[in-house]
Every structure is written in C-alpha cells, then in structure tokens.
C-alpha cells in the first residue's frame, strides 16, 4: 500500500504528514510535486496543510488549478481515499470535491490551539475505529477555517451523515463557546457523498505521537490504512 503526500508551492505540513505515515504508521509514502499528473500506483492521497501559493487570492484558489488536481479529481471519482487537512481541506472545497467554503475565522485572527472534537460518524474509512460521540483532542492552526454552506447543502450533509467532526467542549457538547472559528453548526470536518474524500480543519498530523501530547490523530491515519487493507482483501 502506498500513499502520496502532495506538495504545492507553499505547503508546509507536507513533511509532518509524510513523517506520520512513513515513520509512525509505517506505510510506504512518497511526496508528489504538484506539477505531476498521475496518481498511478497510489492507494491514498493526503493534501497537507500550509499556505499554498501564499493563500494570497483565496485559500486553495490557485492550488486547485495545479496539474496534479486533475488526477486527484479522477482518483476521488473512482472512490480513492483523499484526506485534505487544513489548507488541504480548503483546496478540496475550492476544487469542488467537497461542498461549502472556508472563510475567515469570526475572531479575524489566526488561531493555533488544541480543540475538542466530537466524532459524528464512524461510517467513513477515517473514523471507523472511533466511537460515535467520542471526544478527541486535536490542534487547529488556521485563519480561514470558518465552514460555511447554503442551507440546502447543510441539510444534505446532515441527511447523508457527511458531517464527520464537530467542535465541542470537554464533555462533548457542540456549544457555541467551544466553536473556535464560527463554523456553521460547529462543523470541523466533512466527508464526500461517496464517503472517500475527507476534509478537516484540525491537524491529525500534529497529534500522532505520545511525545506531542496526544495520539488521537494517529488513530485516524491507522483507521484509514486498515480500511484500505480490508477493502483490498
């Protein structure tokens, strides 16, 4: 099994995602430069965080036109596993692979802090090994993580069980006071209709080793790897 970590100009969590997959989870992983055009031979794709193209026009707006994104779209259409973390999530919504948009945090400032997340569904390859309603701790680090969508889209996301994570307090209430960025209905992560494309603002790559304080992120990556192994059998 082999994973690709995409590298756009300005990606800065590419090394972090690579490190977790290759050295912590222990699966074969390669960096893939954004000018590449093929994902042949890869079983999963990670679009890492960072500031692709400086986030200068809109976050993710320029990266979605990179040559590799055509391959990512085809890969996703065929049911391939794609995770976008933070800037990766922003790229996925700009590319139309996930619905909605990510706008400026309501406090207008960049926020780097641990947040609590409630697992809303285990019906995804990424959360199959969590418990529904379980509270995780993960770091966020973004200025544009405020998830927004029109009412129909929001309705559809809920109807189809596509909301994967919500910001919550320590006891699991998705309270407004626990919402760091103003995201609609505290949404922190969503999955595509086909359940194979995950976008999330929190960083599982930053909490995948005990020495960093939490291993909740590691469970997400392991869940993905295990689901892929099973589906290959």
């Amino acid at each position: 099994m082999k994973f690709a970590v995409l590298v756009f100009p300005g990606s800065n969590c590419d090394h972090d995602c690579y490190h977790v997959l290759k050295h912590v989870v222990g699966v074969s992983t390669e960096f893939l430069w954004h000018k590449e055009t093929s994902l042949a031979g890869f079983d999963g794709v990670v679009i890492p965080g960072g500031f692709s193209y400086g986030d200068y026009l809109r976050c993710g707006a320029i990266a979605r036109f990179s040559p590799i994104m055509k391959a990512v779209e085809a890969f996703a259409r065929e049911g391939g596993s794609v995770i976008g973390v933070c800037n990766g999530f922003q790229i996925l919504v700009e590319a139309g692979l996930l619905p909605g948009a990510l706008i400026r945090n309501r406090g207008l400032k960049f926020i780097c802090a641990d947040v609590n997340l409630r697992v809303e569904t285990t019906r995804t390859p990424y959360t199959a090994e969590f418990r529904k309603g379980e509270v995780l701790t993960m770091p966020i680090a973004h200025a544009e993580g405020n998830y927004t969508a029109d009412p129909e889209t929001l309705d559809k996301l809920k109807r189809n069980d596509q909301v994967v994570f919500r910001y919550c307090d320590a006891s699991g209430n998705a309270a407004d006071s626990a919402n760091p960025n103003g995201a609609m209905e505290n949404i922190a992560g969503i999955v595509s209709e086909g359940r194979n494309v995950l976008g999330m603002m929190p960083h599982p790559d930053r909490c995948a080793e005990k020495v960093l304080g939490s291993e909740d992120g590691l469970r997400l990556f392991k869940s993905m790897v295990n689901s892929l192994s099973e589906s290959r059998v």
Partner: protein
Amino acid sequence: MAFDAAVEMTEEIAARHGLSAEEYARIVRHLGRAPNITELGIFSVMWSEHCSYKSSRVHLRRFPTTGPRVIQGPGENAGAVDVGGGLAAVFKMESHNHPSFIEPYQGAATGVGGILRDVFTMGARPIASLDSLRFGPLTDPRHRTLLEGVVAGISGYGNCVGVPTVGGELSCHPSYAGNILVNVFTLGIAKADRLFRGTATGVGNPVIYVGSRTGRDGIHGATMASAEFDDESDRKRPTVQVGDPFTEKLLLEACLELMSNDMIVGIQDMGAAGLTSSSCEMAGRAGTGIELWLDKVPRREPGMTPYELMLSESQERMLIVAKAGRETEVMEIFEKWDLPVAVIGRVTGSGTLRVMDGGRLAAEIPVQALTDDAPVYNRPIARPTDQDERNRLDPSALPALAEPEDYGRVLRTLLAVPGIAHKGWVVRQYDHMVRTNTVVRPGSDAAVVRIKGTAKGLALSVDCNSRYCFLDPRRGGALAVAEAARNLSCSGATPLAVTDCLNFGSPERPETMWQFSEAVDGISEACAALGTPVVSGNVSFYNETNGAGIYPTPMIAMVGLLEDVEKRAEQGFSKEGEAILLLGETPGRLGGSEYLASIHGLEKGSPPSLDLDLEKRVQAVCREAIRAGLVSAAHDTSDGGLAVALAESCLSGPKPIGARVDLQNPGGSRADEVLFGEAASRIILSVPEGKIAEMEAIAREHAVPFFRIGTVGGEKLEISVGGRGLVSEDVAGLDDAWRNALARQLGVA
C-alpha cells in the same frame, strides 16, 4: 568606459549619507579619487553601524566565542554548535526595531524573513523561532496598535513559511515609548559537516542571484539635488519593505535542495544593504574580488539606477557563488520552484568590487576598504553621573503593606503586568506546532523541540531584564545570561551557547557606550563561567528618540541540549500532595524588583547579586534531578519573586491547582521582601514525597541548599511568612487576573 560624473561629490552629500567628514576623507584616500554617487552609497551602507559594527567591534572582541561544541562562531550568517550524532544547531537573533516602529506588520514580518534566511543560508532547516518584544505602556493606544501589528506580522510571516514560533517574551516600559524592540531568533538543524558559509572562493566561479526581483525598497539615500535624485524618484522609493513569505518558503526549499548537492561554494542572504553587503562580504571572507553585471539583475521596475540596484533592500533574495560549470543545474532547481534566477557576475582575483552597468563601469572599490578596513571606533565612555543615585534605595522609606489581604491584591497586580501575564493572546496567533517537533509549547521557562530521528531535544529561551541593566548594566548583562541558562536547566537541558541582540541608545553618547561596555563585560563573565560561548549576534544602536534612549537591553537567547527529550520538566504544578522545594537560598531583595516598580513606582537600588559558582551548581542539581525522574515541575523565580513564581506554577499546569507555602524569614526581612524580592540562583521544584531523599542526596553532592517550603494542592494559593498568613487567594481568581490580563489591557477581552 567612464565613471558616472552626473553628480559632483561633496562632503555635504556624504554627510547626508551619514558619513562624517573624516570618513569621507578616508574614502577618498582608499580610492585615490573622489567616489561617484554609487560608490558613495556603497561605502555609506558598508560603513554604517549596522553592517560594520564600527562602534561595538572593539567591545565584542571580549566575548568568549569558542568551546568544544562550537562549529561556527560570530562573523558568519549564523552561529553553529555540535549537538552530537553528526548534527549541528544553527542559530542567530536579530533586531528589526526601527522598521517595526514605522510599520509594525511589515517591519516584524520582514524581521522574521531575515533571520530565517540567515539560518537556512547556512544549510540548516529552520525548526523554531522565538521573538522578544518591548513596547511602551499599553495604556497608550499607539502601543496597543504597535503590539497588535507586530504580533500579526510575526504570525503572518512565520506561519506561512511554516516555522513554528515556540516562545519568546514580551514586556512594556515607558523607556520604549519612542523606540519599540522587535528581536527575532531562529534555530535550525543541519548536518555538522554540511554547513555552508558566505564565501566567494574560486576565481572564475559564477555569482548567481536568486529570489524576488529587485525593486526600490528600503533605499535610505538622502534626497539629492540632482537629475538622479529628484523628488520624483524619491517618491517612487518606498521606505517600507513588504515581506513575501510565500516566496521565502520557495526560496527556503529551493536553497535546501540546492545545498543537498555539491554545486556551490558559498551563499549569503541579501539582507541589509542587499547586493552590496552580500557581494563584498563574501569576497572579503575569501580574500577575492567580485565583478557584478547589473544589467543581468532581475528587476521589478524599469529605470533603476546602479545606486538603487546596489542599495535596494528588497526581501527574499540570495546571492550564491556556484562551482564553475554547475550553473545550469543550479538554475534548474530555482526554475522548478518558479523563482527568478540569473548569473550576475563572477569571482575575480582582483580584490576589488567591480560593478558593471552594461558597458559602463558603475563602481570599483577595493573589497578590504569596505570590510576589514572599515572604520573602527573606540568611542568615549562615561559612567552616568546619576548612577550612584540610581542605586540608592532606602526600604525603610517605603510605605509598609500590613494587611494580609493587601498582599493578595499586590500579587494579582503583579500577575497582570505584561511581562509576567500569560501570553496566550499572543502565542495563539503563532503557529507554534507546525513541523511537529514542539514538545514543550510556549508558556514554560523554556520551549523544547525534539530533533526527529534522535532521542534528543533542544531547549530555547530568551531573556533580559532591562531594569536590572539600567541600574547596573554589568550585573544586568550577567543576570540575563544566568536567567536564560536557568530557564534551560529548569526544562532539564544543558545550556550550550548564546546568541545576543544588544539594543542600546546612541553610541555617540558616552553614557550609552559605558552601559554597552559594562553589559558586554557582564555577559562575558557569565558566559565564561557557565560555559556558554557567544556564537552569533547583532547590535542595534540608536534606539533613541529626541534624546530619550531605551533602557539598555542586551537580549540573550540561549540554546540547550536534552540528550533524552523524554526526561524534561515544565513549570506548571499538576500533582496534588507533592512537596514544593526551593533550590538555592539567596534571599530576595527589593532593589530593581518588579514589585518596587509596579507597586511603589520606584526603579532604584541594585539588581540582585549573582554568585556564578552557586548559579552553576543550582542549575546542575536541577538538571540532574530532572534526569533522574525526581521532578514533576521546575520553575525559575525571576520577576515578581517567589510569590509570583509560585502563582505561575499553580496556574501553568493542565489546570489551575493550589498550594500551601510557608516561607522562613531567618534574616528578619520585611514580609514584602520575602514574597516579592528578587534573587538569582533560585528554582522551585515539585517533587513527590517519596523522592525527597534522593533529591537531598543530589543537592548535597553539589553543596546546594534546599528547603521544603510547601505542598501542592487545593483550590487556594496560601503563603505565609514565618508562620504569618499573608496570601490566601482562590486560584480561579489568580488565574483570571493572570490569563486574561493582556487581552484586557489591549481592550480585546
């Protein structure tokens, strides 16, 4: 070929470039003729205080700069020390004070950009930054705006490049009302045998320009009555440089890719004085010459003159000397990263900097005249006449604080002082976790980053108490070094080496030079005693407005090594029932204390005394105890004395926790002196009951006194002195006073 004769050179034009009549005469002697305007511009930037260190050089020579671990001392883009396993820690600190005062966001952002380039120029990947900030009082709306802007600039730049800002410090004082300080530090990791230096060796080797195109940024040349320097061209020259962190990130990755191959002989950041300083410093170090072809320089704007091209401070640019024949490979790497790249010259054996603008010779100057032969001044020194008065303090004249509840109020007041208050509002805006190495996040005595692929970690701290330095610059300088080392020891790390940023007023003022010289001596003594050589640094003079200079602020950043990153400590108490031990017995004193300044409005007396031998032993005990697994929390006692240190430990853990403490007072000091008096060489530890005996053995071995002063637990911080209860505060209230103070003072709570 003719020299540009459009501008007739006069001493007055030289004076507008900041060159004295004597310096101008010296230029004429070096050249054997009058310089043209481009040459004058080149001399003026190379002989500026910033590039030449002309007022500080004679003093900086007194720093200890060598040691068994030092791989690269001062004089290069950054210093480097051996951390074992074939790796080097590469680090430096720099100031960006003046630009940040003019435009806080861009000033701070480009400061971060500059220090990152200094580090990755050496072949090191930057893994952590710190920043040390000084503002005027936050009651002044201008300083609230400056603080917000500086923090946003550091955040905007550092976050985008993806180098975590893992800590630093911040404080406010009226002496910074006209001159804020923005000092930024970056640490990188490199293979010890793969360090790159700014050197232009090998006659015939190509000189390659990479990075952003050159614009008219930051050219400070005086307005001149000439065709070349009319009002129009002055208007076109923005004095503020805009940072482009995205290009910096590309430049970083491209340079590291370049340096993993064997294509280049030298590389240097085009920082202050851009093309000029990078080219002649590289030639100067190699003893060679350099020829530049300005028509090849990538430009952002049409019609730029040689003067502008040589002096531009456009950001995110590098100068590389490649091995002859490898040009194409070098260019391919930068083209991959979509960065402008061009061969703009070659190394010569002439010993001169020769600047060609098409077929025209624009400048020709002996390199040595710009570098080694730049003026060096031993400026006059005079101890301030009111120095004795500053040191005079009569505690008996202070109003006594008798009522126990008053001590609680004093404690809450001190916890809200910006220098002591929780910095959450600031560090939340910094990505302090990217690169997933941050093991101890901002908010403890030292930040700790692990070194991936090893068991090791590096601890970082930056310190300076400028009030101490104002009262006694020599002891203040030594105390800054001691505190930085103590902070590292409190994390369990062995202090390795220092980089500094010496911020002072005008060197033309003998009193300022006295402070500078004294501070250098103090730093040198402490660095020698603690075995932490100075490996890089920066001097920032002229932090003075309308005759009012800042307090002397020699900022000390120190890097320490943890052989096993798992064996570390943080400052927060977390374990109910553990014993609180005080390591070291130096009694606190009121002189120069935060308490005296904040509560009594007095900045007088002498700063705490410092016994470097004791300091060393106290730190050794702390480190050994941490490595032996005896310590749950360790915290240096500094600003605000024991009471503030205890409160900080109660509030910094995973959640606030109380403590019950009884302080002895054998000398019969005033209660406020026991609670809030400051002293060096003291560390608070939280140790499980069952491990006190082991702790005692380690302390005895080093002949360090220690005392059990209390117990962790409960919902209150209760402190008595000699059995008399003086402080009894709910930790929740203290936590609010401390945690929300900064946001409240900024009006954003």
